[in-house]
Structure formats: C-alpha cells, structure tokens
Amino acid sequence: MKSILFSTAAVAMTATFALADGHSVVRMGTEGAYPPYNFINDAGEVDGFERELGDELCARAELTCEWVTNEWDSIIPNLVSGNYDTIIAGMSITDERDEVIDFTQNYTLPDPSAYVAMSADVDLEGGVLAAQANTIQAAFIAETGATLVEFATPEETIAAVKNGEADAVLADKAFLTPIADEDADLMMLDKEELIGGGIGLGLRESDTELKEKFDAAITSMKEDGSLNALIAKWEIGDGF
C-alpha cells in the first residue's frame, strides 16, 4: 500500500515538473454576473465586453488564457493567494484596492454611476439605497447621509428596489441601462455620480512582468481604435 502511494506521488511530481513553465496559461478571473461587462451566456460560457477584450489582449500579448468565474466578495483574496492570475471583472481602480493589488492602465473611461428607482421622487440624501458589497458605489453611499443596504450579487440589488426593501440602487450606468429599458416598473434617475478612476485589470503586486505585457496590449488597442470599437459595441460609455 505504502509503495503504491509513494509511486503515485512520484509520478505526480515528475509529471508536474515536466509541465511547469512560468505563465504558460494565464487564468482570467471574472464574476460572470454583471452584463454587459461580463456574464454567462445561454451556452454557459463567459461572455460580454470583458470576454472579447480579454481574448484580444491575450492574443496581442501572445498569452494562452483561460476563463474562471469567482464570487465578487472573494475575488481579491483568491487572486492574492494565486487561484487565478488576473481580475477582469468591471473593477474600478481605487486607492484602497491599489494597496492590496496592482492595476493595469484603465481600459474604460470612468463610467458614471446611475440610480434606478420605482419613482422619480425618491429621497437620495436620506433614503435607503442598495449597492453591491465591496464596490465603489457602496463606499460612496456609505459616505453620504443615506442608509446603505449591501448585497452579494448585482441581481439582488435590483430585486431589493423592486420589492421595496430599498428606495433606489446605485450601480454602473452601463449595467443599469438595459434593465431600466426593459422593466416598465423601473426608471433611471437623471442624477449621476462620477466616482472611480475607470476600470483596469487587477494583478498581483509581485506579477510585474504580466502587468507590463497587458499594459502594452491595452496601449496598442487604444492606439488602433479597436478598444473604442469594443466599447461602442457593448455600450460601455464614452470611448477614449
């Protein structure tokens, strides 16, 4: 029994030795629940603006990439402990996050955050506002006089407005627009908040080589206009 265990362990170790070769596969971590940035399509695959962008960036940087989904709440801890190599999940560049992880240059301009509510006359200063936990919107509401209710998924923030638990939801405008368009009960308010420094790719601070590769790929996409074409296609906001 012991010898069987030892020999399988030995085989496993030699096999892993043969395969090991730096960043031969880059694992792209995303949430898969935030259209149009990233979502799971009908076929069960990761789709959206960031899927197309990420595939193009990997092609330009000559990397083999693989897509992984992870819950938003634990998306940074799992990057830091090495379960995947990048976060490409509509994550805005903020100082707090920058202390823990590194960001590439931004690949979208700061998208204004918008409010969606059941009626136009909600009290945004003193009412109850919903936001996804650990987002720039949640941090923004916490600073104001309004009461913040946080949810783990974007879906639940919308549901909270519809069932009356919250007066309005604050989220990225690109995410809220298709929802407000299609649901007759919901409407987008005129007021917008300019928060965040645009969206970037999150990487481990020790992973400088990978950061340079992605930075170069983003620059080349910005220069030849292909990034703007993608932004227009998925209606993410203004182009560069």
């Binding site: 596969v25 399509n41 076929a43 069960g44 402990s81 998924t153 368009d181 020790s206």
Partner: protein
C-alpha cells in the same frame, strides 16, 4: 438542443420552455445536481471512517492517542462550520503549496509571503497554473470532500463514541470470559452491536449533510443553489435569447421539492436499515421483533 430552437422569440410556450430548459447554461445546473450526489456519495463513507477512527482513538487506553481523538472531536465540533470552511481550506491549500515549494524549488531565494501575496514557484502550484480547468475543479472538489469529511467525521466520532459505550457491559465481559483478546472483543462483539445505538445519531448527521452542500460555494464549487440563483435572476433581451423576469422563486421552489424528496427517500432507507440492524439485538426493539416473529 432541439432543431426548432433557432429563434426562441417566435415559439409557442411549451417549445420555448423546452428550449429554455435545455440551454448550455441549464446543463450546468443538471451537472451540479450530479456534483452534489457525488459529493455525498464520497463524503458519507469518508466521514464515517474519520468518525470511526476518532471514536476508536478517543476510547484508547494509550493516553496520547486518547487525547488526540478527544481533541479532534472537541475542536472540530466547537468551531463554526463557516469559519472552518473559510480558514481551513485556504490554510490547507497554502500548506500543500508551501511544502511542494520547499521540495521542488530549493534554489528559490525570494520570500513566500510578499506583502499580501502568497507566491510560490510555478512548479509548486497546486494544481499547476497551466493545468486545464477541470483539474482545478477536481482539486477544489477534493478539498471540499476532505473538509466535509473532517467536519462531519468529528460529529460521527462523538456519536460512535457514545454508541460504543452503550453496548451492554455484560456482552463484553462474557466475551472476555470466553477467552477473547481485547482486539477480538472489539471487532467481534462491540462493533457489530454498536450500530443499532449509533444509527439514530448518524441518520441525523446524514440529513444535515444533505442540506449542508450549499457550503460548497464557499469552496468555489458551483452547486445547485448557486445555479438556481444565477439562472433565476432577471435576464434582459440584450444578453440572452430567453429574456425573463425574476424567476428565482420558481427555481428555489424546485430546489425545495428536490431536497424534500431526497430527505424523504433517505428516511425510508434509514428506517429499513434500522429494522435490519435491530434483528437479534439485546434491545427492546430486538425483543419486540422476536416476540412478533413467534
């Protein structure tokens, strides 16, 4: 899936539903049902083995072994499941990678902990960074099984420990009087008789285990509750061929029925097992069976 599914927006209701329920995304929830069954099928016997080992150790006459068994039972039973699942799995994963790192990359000079980052050499990654996704998922699943087995094993150990003590003393003394060694007494007299005392406690554990599978999500395994939430959420027509409102209620209703049927089926099986184990035992249940048969 079906040939008529090319343009769902024009389909009559039942065809729309047939197409909707067979999308690639829905296949994920059907797979996750199998994942849950597989998890239970592997975890239950493993946890029982942990429990048996823990209970035997706790009964040992060798003091350190006994302390080990009692310590395992007391510590794991006392720590909240969620804390255990969050802490233990990450710690275990990093411990494995650290040991591999020390063994495989002796020339590595940089520290493993760099600020917030946990960095080991590429060859020590578990599983390797370039391994296909299914290996990552299988590894995560393996960690989940081990964690479940350790947690539920501690509870099972406590149940079995009690059951071993519930076997009538006279039975053990008789075995000794017949000249059996302690080892023979344990395996031939005590173990066959303890199950009837252990089964009520173990059946409770099984029921709790069935319902604990959503904890899998904490470990990165996508289980049925995750998919029910994801599939039931509002879908707008820009991003799917099958737009619908908030259908989470219906998905969770389906889950409710699934879990109720599953626990009911378990109850029926466990009741039969109880009848079988009671046969010929020196308990009131065994006595009642004997009288009914006469």
């Amino acid at each position: 899936m079906f040939s008529f599914c090319t343009d769902p927006s024009t389909l009559p209701d039942w065809q729309w539903m047939a197409c909707y329920l067979t999308t690639g995304k829905h296949m994920s929830i059907y797979w996750s049902v199998l994942t849950v069954f597989l998890l239970l099928a592997i975890t239950a016997p493993t946890a029982l083995a942990f429990g048996f080992a823990g209970a035997s150790a706790a009964r040992s006459r060798i003091a350190p072994v006994s302390w080990l068994g009692r310590g395992y039972i007391a510590i794991v039973r006392g720590v909240p499941d969620i804390a255990f699942f969050l802490f233990f799995v990450i710690a275990l994963d990093q411990a494995i990678e650290y040991l591999r790192h020390r063994a495989l990359c002796p020339d590595w000079t940089e520290p493993v902990r760099q600020g917030n980052d946990f960095v080991v050499c590429a060859a020590a990654k578990m599983p390797l960074g370039n391994a296909p996704q299914w290996i990552h998922e299988t590894y995560g699943f393996g960690l989940a099984v081990l964690t479940f087995a350790i947690v539920f094993g501690a509870f099972a150990a406590n149940v079995l420990f009690g059951a071993m003590r519930a076997v009538p003393k006279a039975q053990l003394e008789t075995a000794e009087a017949y000249g059996m060694t302690p080892r023979q007494t344990f395996w031939r007299v005590m173990v066959p008789q303890m199950w009837v005392f252990a089964l009520p406690g173990l059946s409770n554990l099984w029921m709790v285990l069935i319902k604990a599978t959503p904890l899998l999500f904490l470990l990165g395994v996508e289980d049925i509750v995750y998919w029910a939430r994801e599939l039931g959420g509002t879908k707008t027509s820009r991003f799917t061929e099958y737009p619908h409102g908030d259908w989470r209620m219906w998905y969770f209703l389906a889950l409710l029925i699934f879990y109720l049927m599953f626990t009911r089926a378990s109850e029926i099986v466990l009741d039969r097992l109880m009848v079988r184990l009671t046969r010929g035992q020196a308990t009131t249940g065994g006595e009642a069976q004997r009288k009914a048969a006469v």
